[in-house]
Each structure stands twice: as structure tokens, then as C-alpha cells.
Amino acid sequence: MTTAGAQPFVDQYGALKGALPGTGLPWLAELREAGLARFASLGLPTPRDESWKYTNLRPLEKVAFGTPNGEAVSIDRLPSLLPAGASENRLVFVNGHYRDDLSTLKSLREGVEIGSLAAGLERSPETVAEHLGRIAPSGEQPLLALNTALSGDGLVLRLGRGAKVKTPIEVIFIGAATEQALAYHPRNLIVLEPESQAVVIEHHVSLGGGATFANSATEIDLGDGALLHHYKMQAEGPEAFHVSTVHARVGRDAHYDSFGMSLGSRLSRNEVSVRLNGRGANCHLNGAYMVRGKQHCDTTTLVEHLVPRTSCREVFKGVLDDEARAVFQGRIVVHPDAQQSDGHQLSKAMLLSEKAEIDAKPELEIYADDVKCSHGATAGDLDHDALFYLRSRGLPEGPARRLLIEAFLTESIEAIAAEDLCPAFLASIADWLKTD
């Protein structure tokens, strides 16, 4: 039986299915139907679901979301995170529709496939079929199942063995709604064959001030020795809901490096699951968030060490003001064969107001005996000694506080490999502090 909150989305499928990418491909129709059935039986997550204990989607259920048409929106200025000329490949999606007129693709060559999902499904459906829905099984995640059913357009990046795209590939997702609230479901697929390398930057923004629901899903497959830097900025508007589900498979000696900054949306959730599949596989899952008002920001990670000698590092730092709330759920599972796993996880929250709150739930499940794993979670106010030190040198309290908050967040940006991206991240921190 479909739950009340899920029914409107189920109903949309009937109206939408003829217009979704890959219409007419029987395997895809089957995948979508299976996703829809799964979503219908699971319903929207509720706090009764263990993984959604601290994030309540009731506010989402109260909004009547329509289905969007990206073609009608005019975009004057592209919200790029990079300086002009820093990227040769930029894809722009408006409400889940690819906008060829706003996009630039220059690196296409033998072994380098960059484009929209719809184009990928037309050009080489069999290679998409090899991966789509296989890296991210819809089983236990209702919103991923919903995405599978209603998948709109998104990025398809496929690099052949040894291919390297040097400049960042920027993917801009614009949610554009006014009176009519809109829901869209971007679906991305990133497949890096052995020894290939890429930098992908996602930028999620809003236009028009209406309510949007971006329900994004990304599947990533990294072959042996592949390297993916995956950066994300979520700066959607105050009426936006943002849910992102990422599944990554990391092969032997491959490296998945991810950093996400969240400062937008009334409610956001970034859920990342990584399977370290080959010896020497390594991942960095890092993030920073800044929230105020009644914003809610959820970070949920799962790292599975499946074979010996894999490692992961997770550091999530956040600043919360007013009545904002953050959730950090970090699970590390070391499977029985995964000896010499090395996993470290840290959540640090700075609470600027009495009413701000973080729920941190680190979980280690270790089934091997020779491992190094740790987790930590801290929550607290600014360092009073540091604040006094700055004031004793003449900095008034406001600027002194801002300097300390900025320093706290800036540390998490220092590890970003794409130097062209740092100014935009730093500016977002400075802007956030200025509007305090």
C-alpha cells in the first residue's frame, strides 16, 4: 500500500514517463517500474526508519510539487563556481532538463565521454545499462528508488583506461520555481576506467524563490588506480528541499576524494555510501556546512571496507546559528576479510546559539581483528580563550568571532585539489558570515 506522502510522486510517474530520458528502452522501463514499485511499498522515509531518525520529511509532504519543464526558463547569467576559462566542460541542467544552449563540451575525444544522461542513452544505451541502477541498488533507500523511477537528466561521464581530463567538469543544477512548487530528480553516472582521472564539480542553486525538491542520485564506479575529485556546493534557496544519494565503488588503489559544502535549502540531506572494493582503495569524505534560521542539514555516510588494506578519512565541520539543526550519521563497516583497514571519522560542530542543535551518531562495525579505526564528534561554542586573545589585541567581538568561525571552516577547504575552486568556497564562507 502506498503511503499518503508517497502517492503524489507515484501519480506523477504515469504523466511523466513518456518524457523521461531513455523512453522506449525496455530495460530502462523495467528499471523505472521496479524503482516505482519499491518506492510505493517503502513510502517516504519517516523518523521511524532508523536512518531517518533525526530528519523528518513532514514539511516536504505538505508541499504539492508539480512536474517541471526546463525549456521555458531563461537564464541570464550562469552561476559558475569557476573563474572564466578554468573549465572546458560545463553542463547546465534546469529543473532536471539538460540545456544544450547553456552548456559547453570541449574535451570529447576517444575515451572521453561527457554529456547528458539522455544523450548517453541515445548514443550508447548498452554502456549506460551496464552501470545504471547497478552501483546503487534501490533496495533500502526510498528516495533513491523514487529517483530511479523518475530519473530526469544528469551527467554521464565515462573515461576510458588512462584517460585524464585535466580541467574540472562543472555541472550546474538550477532549480527554477515560482508559484508552482517543482520536484526534479537528477541522475548522474560517473564511470572511470582503470588509471583515468577527473575532477567533477556540482553546483546546486535556485532561481525564482519558489519551493523545489531536488532529489538527486549519483552512481560512481572507479576502476583500479582511477582518481576522482568530486566537489559539491549546495547553495539552494530558503524554500528548497535537497536530497542527494551517492553510491561509489572504489577499485584497487583507486581514490575517491569528495568534499561538499552545504549552506542552502531549508532541509538538506547528503547521503554517501562507499564500497572500498580493491586493495589499496582509499576515500576522503569531507564536508562543511553553515546553517541558520530553521535550516536542517543532514550528512549520512556509510563506508564499507570489503578487502584488506583499504582506508578512509572523514571530516565534517559545521557552524550552526539560531535554531538550525544538523545531523551527522557516520557508519564504518569493516568486513571479516578486510584486515589492515584504516578508517577515521570526525564530526566537529560549532554551535553559535543556545537553540542550535547537532545529533551526531558515529557507528563502527568491525568484523576483522587487525584494523585501525577511530571516530570522534565534538560540539561546542567558539574557543573563549582565542576570542579573548583577539579582543585583547583590539578586535571587537563581532569581527573576532567571524575571524574564528572563518578559520574553523577554512581549514576544511585547504585540502581541495582544484585550486580554481577555492576562491568560490572561501567567498561563500565570507558571504555567509557577512549576512549574520
Partner: protein, 249 residues
Amino acid sequence: MLEIKNLHVTVEDKEILKGIDLTIMPGEIHAVMGPNGSGKSTLAYIMTGREGYEVTEGEVLYQGRDLLAMAPEERAAEGVFLAFQYPVEIPGVPNTTFLKEAVNAQRRHRGESELDAMQFLKVVRRTVKELGIADEMLKRAVNVGFSGGEKKRNEMLQMALLEPRLAVLDETDSGLDIDALKAVADGVNALRAPDRSMLVITHYQRLLDYIVPDKVHVLAGGRIVRSGGKDLARELERTGYAEFATEAA
């Protein structure tokens, strides 16, 4: 410059300073010496406005104004500087950024124009050279990973850049070897001026071989139990604080 009158201070309901009287004229250097727990650091912190110290009686006048009514940043901008006994580490804030923010915050307060990056760099480079500080210390985060000596030199650098009228040095000699001590003392002596006063708080006489005070006060049990000229410090070195501990009790 500074007038402390009958100052009583409690920390967590315990009276630490029990009636201090101290007057420092412009250009004078006064040393306050005393055993551990005599209230030396409390005296330093009360001058700069740290939280958690309650004045129950008395007053502190700085250039005729009520110092205790001023916020810490206002005291700094008006020319009061505390060299910390334990300088605070601030991860993520480059030392140069910190120094520039401090200098410009004080300039703004005094209605002076701010220094731009180039102007500031010129000043800071010159000062660093005069004090014999490695340039590299400017790039690192404030006091993070600094040795004890580097932290104290960084305090001297701040003092030189901020050019205070009243500098309070809280056990600046603690944890320093003799070379670092001399370097710090050189920094202090370079700043001696007819319109600048200093209050040097120390446990040991050693520092006063290099920074020669005009007056020496002995603090014991929260009171100044004796005052004298620079020779008093030498006398203390011989006799220790034992006799004052009984005097104060």
C-alpha cells in the same frame, strides 16, 4: 599613566587580590614579583578585561579614565597591551592576517586610516627584522606549533606593532632559555620611551637583569607587601619569598 586604588578581586567567590595600590607614571617600568599563587596573573588579566574576574572593591584609572568599565578591545585600542604568559593558539588564522586585523582594528578605533596589504607588509617586515624573528613565523597559524620561545617572541612582535602606552608583561620569562630571554628583553628595551609605561610581572629576578625596572613591588597573599628600587629584586633573589608569605598571612 596607571593608578590602581584599593583593588579587591575575587575569582569563583575566592578573594585573590585583597587591596592593591599601585601608581605608575609615564615612562616608568614597574616590576611586580611574587611567589606562585600570590595573585600576579590575576592582576595581569584584570587589567585587560578577561571574563571570570570580579572586582568587589576599588578602581583602576588609566590616563584618568575608568579602565575596568572598558571592553577588552577598547582597552587595547586605547593603548593597553598584555603579553600573555600562555599565548593562545588559533588554528586556521595566519599570523599575518591576525597582526593586520589587530593593527587595523586599533587604527579604526582611533580614527586613523587602515594600512593596506602593502603598507602593512612593509611595517611588519621591518619589525620582524629588528626583532630577529624568522619571516616564516608570519605565515604559520597564530602560535600553532610555535615553541615556547617563538610564542613569546610573537608577543613581542605584536607589542612592537601595536605600540602600546601601557604594556603588561605576564611572566614573559617563564619557559625561556637565556638566549630567548635576552631576545625578548631586547624587544622590550627597544620600546622604552618617555611616554610608555610597563608593568613586568615575574616570579624570578633573572628577567630584571635585562629589563631594569624603576620600581619593584612584592605581591604576596593578594597584597603588595613591600615596594622598593631595583635592588629589592636582588635582595629577593637571596632571601626568597618565605618571609613575605608569613607577612601576608
